[in-house]
């Protein structure tokens, strides 16, 4: 027997009595539950609570469940204090409902894959719709320029464009240095030092700068759009805009899309310049290419069409980043966790979109012979 017997079962004169004792409280419940395991009582037994100091609802639930498992049928309850009897009575009224537990829905792998696929299809379908609505709204602004929210546009240009310059400049310059260095290591072996300039020039302006800058902007501005619009949706500001007879598309989406489409090509140009500058910085000490020789070779080796192809991709990247960012924000679920999840999703989707678009451009440009 444990040192504190929670109950004793006595059989006397053909009557069985279960005598409860001690303080049946939640902190000791595991012991009580263990003691109650395997309890057996005949029908018509008596439960005596006269030695029971106190019982709380959790302990009463465990007791009633154990008695039900013991299949004791109708029991006589005697000796309970008023407080204890009230607590047991309250739990008894809820007992049936606690037993009726709904089976958790099945979570098969197939069901999971199906649900995720459907969610993806719905998401993409929504994006396409939203893209259409945004382009229509942009068209409306072109037709009636007075509709454009100039203040919002300039604020977004500052946040998405101007404020991004330092990080874009730093990252693209480092990329320029690294590419020139790695190309230089190979080119040196063949004495083809000067061709590093061609390599960096074409590579950076046509591919690296647009992609890297777009990814930085997706992380900075795409995420910011989702977080801003998501919080606005949580506080019902977007509903307020609609109720005031304004179009959230015009007030919130168009300025952001337009700002990003204007800012991204400019940032890509800064990226082009900075990556070439980085390459020029390392070409001198490593490959004995003086800045003058570098620039002279750049004029011969770098066809301007490469720069234009790189710059032409930027507004398209910007359109997709901005559309994904604003749509994820406008459709976010109505709880705080959803804003975080939507922001993460925006960054992932934008980066995937940028790389897919770039692949598409590569094929397209090849076909067009540009």
């Amino acid at each position: 027997m444990p040192d504190a017997p929670w109950f004793t079962v006595l059989a006397q004169d053909g009557r069985t009595t279960m005598r409860l004792a001690g303080a049946w409280r939640l902190p000791r419940l595991p012991e009580i539950e263990a003691a109650l395991a395997g309890l057996a009582l005949p029908a018509g037994a008596t439960v005596d609570g006269s030695a029971l100091a106190e019982i709380d609802t959790a302990a009463a639930l465990v007791l009633l469940r154990a008695l039900q498992r013991a299949d004791a049928g109708a029991l006589a309850w005697v000796g309970f204090s008023d407080v204890n009897a009230r607590i047991v009575a309250q739990v008894r009224t809820h007992l049936e409902a606690t037993l009726a537990r709904p089976a958790p829905p099945g979570h098969g792998v197939l069901a999971h894959v199906g649900r995720q696929t459907l969610a993806l299809v719905t998401l993409l379908h929504g994006h396409v719709n939203f893209l259409g609505a945004t382009i229509a709204a942009l068209g409306e602004v072109l037709a009636r320029p007075r509709r454009l929210r100039l203040r919002e546009l300039t604020a977004q240009l500052e946040q998405a464009g101007l404020n991004a310059i330092p990080v874009v400049a730093l990252v693209t310059m480092l990329i320029g240095i690294v590419v020139a260095y790695l190309l230089g290591l190979q080119a040196e072996k063949y004495g083809a030092n000067i061709f590093v300039v061609d390599g960096v020039g074409i590579g950076a302006t046509r591919e690296f700068a647009p992609i890297i800058v777009a990814i930085i902007v997706a992380g900075r501005s795409g995420a910011a759009f989702t977080a801003q619009l998501g919080s606005m949706r949580l506080t019902e500001e977007i509903d307020a805009i609609r109720t005031l007879g304004l179009s959230p598309q015009q007030v919130l989406v168009v300025p952001r899309v337009l700002a990003l489409m204007l800012a991204l090509p400019l940032l890509v140009f800064i990226g082009d310049v900075m990556s070439l500058l980085g390459a020029m910085m390392i070409a001198g000490p490593m490959l004995d290419i003086t800045p003058a020789a570098f620039l002279a070779r750049l004029r011969e080796g770098l066809d301007t069409r490469h720069v234009f192809v790189g710059l032409a991709k930027a507004p398209i990247f910007a359109l997709f980043i901005a559309v994904i960012g604003t749509r994820m924000g406008m459709t976010v679920g109505r709880d705080t966790r959803a804003v975080g999840a939507a922001t993460t999703s925006t960054v992932v989707q934008s980066i995937v979109a940028v790389i897919l678009l770039d692949a598409g451009f590569a094929v397209l440009m090849q076909t067009l012979d540009l």
Partner: protein
């Protein structure tokens, strides 16, 4: 009757602004006490100081004979399991279902078998007046009234001795609010809990509260049964209850 809450000479200052200049009262076990006060009188601040979330500038708070601002960390942990708090909007964890929310304290602080925890969670939901199936929902899928009930279910999960409620009926329709009042009253009458609530709901004050504390000007302005407080000669108190008197007067055809 022993006191379970003792607030002694609480002073709170934020910079130059004095919110409380010596607030003292105590609450006896098994009573339902309401606190009112004008907006900005520091009710919520006092509540946060009482449950150990915000340190008062001076003064002492004792809950269940533990000094909330002088006890060792493990003593504080022990006392935190003996009171429950319902925040104004429920403060349910949005990433968990309602049932998981209620199970959090049980899983963290007891060594009960999962099946027992499931049954206890169901019991708590029923005690708080929710159907058991509500447990499978996410907090964002609940109405305001259900969210508050779910928060109560979580607050009473560990059989607390004191329950603190911050504006329990704000934002609820009158029918739901009265149901909530009955729930709180039954927690006190049937389970012997001590309940301390901050409210502005006159119906709650007039029907279920045993004792009313009025906070004004940084101190306790009145303290006693609702009838006595209503009789106190003070402009703010008179105005506060005047709305109700007018409604009651209309009904009586006066």
């Amino acid at each position: 009757m022993p006191s379970v809450i003792e607030v002694e000479a609480i002073v709170t200052r934020f910079g130059a602004q004095t919110v409380h200049s010596g607030v003292s009262f105590s609450v006896e076990r098994g009573t339902l006490v309401g606190m009112i006060g004008a907006s900005g009188s520091g009710k919520s601040v006092l509540l946060r100081e009482m449950i150990g979330l915000l340190r008062p500038t001076a003064g002492r708070v004792r809950l269940l004979d533990t000094d909330m601002w002088g006890a060792a960390p493990d003593e504080l942990d022990a006392v935190r399991r003996r009171f429950g708090m319902m925040f104004q909007d429920g403060a349910l964890f949005s990433s968990l279902t309602v049932a998981q929310n209620v199970a959090v304290p049980l899983r963290e602080h007891t060594r009960l078998a999962p099946a027992t925890i499931d049954a206890l969670v169901a019991l708590r939901l029923l005690q708080a007046g929710l159907p058991v199936d509500a447990g499978a929902k996410m907090p964002s899928e609940l109405s305001g009234g259900m969210r508050k009930r779910a928060a109560v279910a979580r607050a009473i999960a560990l059989e607390p001795e004191i329950l603190f409620l911050d504006e329990p009926t704000s934002g609820l329709d009158p029918i739901t609010a009265r149901g909530f009042d009955r729930l709180v009253r039954s927690l006190v009458d049937d389970l012997g809990l001590t309940v301390f609530l901050v409210t502005h709901d006159l119906d709650t004050l007039l029907t279920v509260v045993d004792r009313l504390i009025v906070l004004a000007g940084g101190a306790v302005l009145a303290d006693g049964p609702v009838g006595d407080v209503m009789a106190v000669e003070d402009d703010w108190i008179r105005e506060y209850f005047s709305v109700r008197r007018m409604v009651a007067g209309d009904r009586n055809g006066i």
